[in-house]
Symmetry: none
Subunit: 222 residues, 4 copies
Amino acid sequence: MSKNNLLDAMIAQTKLSKKQTDKQQKITETAIKLFAEKGFANTSTSEIAKAAGVAEGTIFRHYGTKDNLLLSVLLPFLKESLPTMAEDVFNELLTDQVANFEDFLRALAKNRIAFINENKEIFQIFVKEVLYSEELKNEIFPYISENIFQRIAKVVDHFKARGELVDLPTITIQRLLFTIIGGFLFSRFVLLPNQEETIDESEIDQIVQFIMDGIRKKSQSE
Amino acid sequence: MSKNNLLDAMIAQTKLSKKQTDKQQKITETAIKLFAEKGFANTSTSEIAKAAGVAEGTIFRHYGTKDNLLLSVLLPFLKESLPTMAEDVFNELLTDQVANFEDFLRALAKNRIAFINENKEIFQIFVKEVLYSEELKNEIFPYISENIFQRIAKVVDHFKARGELVDLPTITIQRLLFTIIGGFLFSRFVLLPNQEETIDESEIDQIVQFIMDGIRKKSQSE
Amino acid sequence: MSKNNLLDAMIAQTKLSKKQTDKQQKITETAIKLFAEKGFANTSTSEIAKAAGVAEGTIFRHYGTKDNLLLSVLLPFLKESLPTMAEDVFNELLTDQVANFEDFLRALAKNRIAFINENKEIFQIFVKEVLYSEELKNEIFPYISENIFQRIAKVVDHFKARGELVDLPTITIQRLLFTIIGGFLFSRFVLLPNQEETIDESEIDQIVQFIMDGIRKKSQSE
Amino acid sequence: MSKNNLLDAMIAQTKLSKKQTDKQQKITETAIKLFAEKGFANTSTSEIAKAAGVAEGTIFRHYGTKDNLLLSVLLPFLKESLPTMAEDVFNELLTDQVANFEDFLRALAKNRIAFINENKEIFQIFVKEVLYSEELKNEIFPYISENIFQRIAKVVDHFKARGELVDLPTITIQRLLFTIIGGFLFSRFVLLPNQEETIDESEIDQIVQFIMDGIRKKSQSE
DNA sequence: CATGAATGAGCGTTCATTCAT
DNA sequence: AATGAATGAACGCTCATTCAT
């Protein structure tokens, strides 16, 4: 609502610039590459302009400010990450076919890792900038909380009710999931992004397996 | 304060070797606070000077460059405190009393979390800067590898030999430990550091418990 | 203005090649004036900006560094104007009409003094800066040697062969010429440049006369 | 006289600091070396202090300002150059033994070149600084004029009266002498000071010979 | 006398942003 | 829509100078 609402602003922003010109396209691409490589603060607009083959003024004609350029880069990524994930992904994954939590978790992990793998650079930019921007943090996390956590909570509750999951509080299970998957993504894509190697399917299986060991309902046989 | 407090240690040490002046101390303290809060690049030397109540020139008289001020803050943390601590910690933890891997892991986690808790700000600076500086990264990782990973590898091997741990490759186990503990530290101290709340002992127990579920040797009874 | 005026030439040339803006011209003109007056090191960029009526940033947009501004002032003088001029001058002077060395010397002296007279300020800058910059020195002297000394050597040899000049080594004669003419230029344009008075023709005649007394072949009558 | 009088100030200054301490000695020596090497403006007081092995404060305790340090370096040189030259040197050279102007000129040249040779560095400093300081220029040149030029004028007049010198105006002869000898000193000691080689006696003879060719009374026999 | 920590004005330089064309 | 010259505030840094010890 208020102008302080970052996400609203972001959405309004992209709505304004519906039809991207060639130059805009070039600017966005170049900005993503350079922001990921050297960080937002260490990339000057003149550098972007030069690398994109446009005049510096052109950047400001389209994006107004450098901060706004950053948002224009992050926004589609976030839109795809958050609401889409919340709706499409869950709908897709939560059909009757998904027999158990492990299958769900594996499908979710694969889906999201594939997405981030395709948007490596923007993910890097996003994580790095979140560390420095209280504004981003304060706007994004409630949003995540609403859209993602609550849906996951439902799923967890569902499988807890089916007796598949250990009887820890749902919030605890969520935190564990978040820490482990988040830690994995952070170390692979942000902290040590040099390695060209793609994420191995077996690696994901391993992590899911590991997580399940921790949260699967222990058999009563003992 | 406890021996874990790095700043105390640094101050004590530099007092001995180079007689730090009052102003120097004020500068270091202020720099740590501001770097942690807003990041190195987003903190200007004039801001530090103003906040520390000194003239800007005084910073440069003592540290030469802003980069050097950062190093003066980080290097003691990395080059002096960590290795001796690593040794102390492992010596302390690896006595005969440590009956099993779970005890070791819990002791290690508590020890390190306590350490970082007392050096929150430097830890934040360190993580944030590593993301932007290949140089720092390249200086740090071999170092960590030598001092930490190899020691942990030994411990893991030891308990694997005793049949306590699952038969995964040691490197895999290490990665899981690193991801989970690192992810926890990152999310608690860097990503979402607002919360004043101290880390709960029970939370650590929970994580250790969780890890152990994943890497404990499964009983053959099945 | 005459073709001898270097600034006119520079301005004309840069206009052709890189379309100098009004502000750029103002900066160059002001820089030349101030560098000549107070020396390069004692002239601040903010002073130049203020005197030129531009923002300080404008200087750096066009010249990148203060050193570069100096070079932008000196290099055309050295790399473009001097050599072509050297060629023109020698071609012009060394026609058959030049009956003897004295005529040649007088013509050369007048030509060069006129040239420097129209480029007083750049000459001052050049001499002052050469005293402090080994780099400038090392770039300049080989250059002068090739373009000036070797040509003069030829002329001296030519007239020595015709029996007009004393039988001193050519290098000795050159040194005398250089010392006397150089000393004259230095004292008139650099050491004591206050005097607005233009160089008197009769003064040049006098010096040439004096030099010729020293290097003319003495009559064998004694 | 007035406080504006540089030479008075200089003299007053040295009178104050009669007995030099060891540290003062070291400071002066170091300053001479560094000023000559890198120029006055490019040498910082902290650099001098470090190289001299004293605290920076010590320089200011003794010399008050950096400018004053420069004067303390130049003053003894100038005192020796000007009044002494005017008195002692002329007295010594102008005895009856000096049969002709050529002998006088040769003796004067040798004497002064030897002096400058022994004070190469201070001479370099002096010439370079005169180029930038109107104050130095305005104070020194009248002084030179009074003490040196007038005495030389007398000598020239003396030998003109004896019919040894050409009938040019005395001022013209002086200028020629000044230009040639000055040009020689400048090029040897300031412009191209690299060469370690000492000034050759025969070289002086050559120059004196050359000058005499230009100003000797032409014999009427031809 | 000597020290060296502290100062603060001034430097060269960068850069996001504006605006006339 | 696109340009790029121009801006000026802010930056990291230097240095002659002061002063308490």
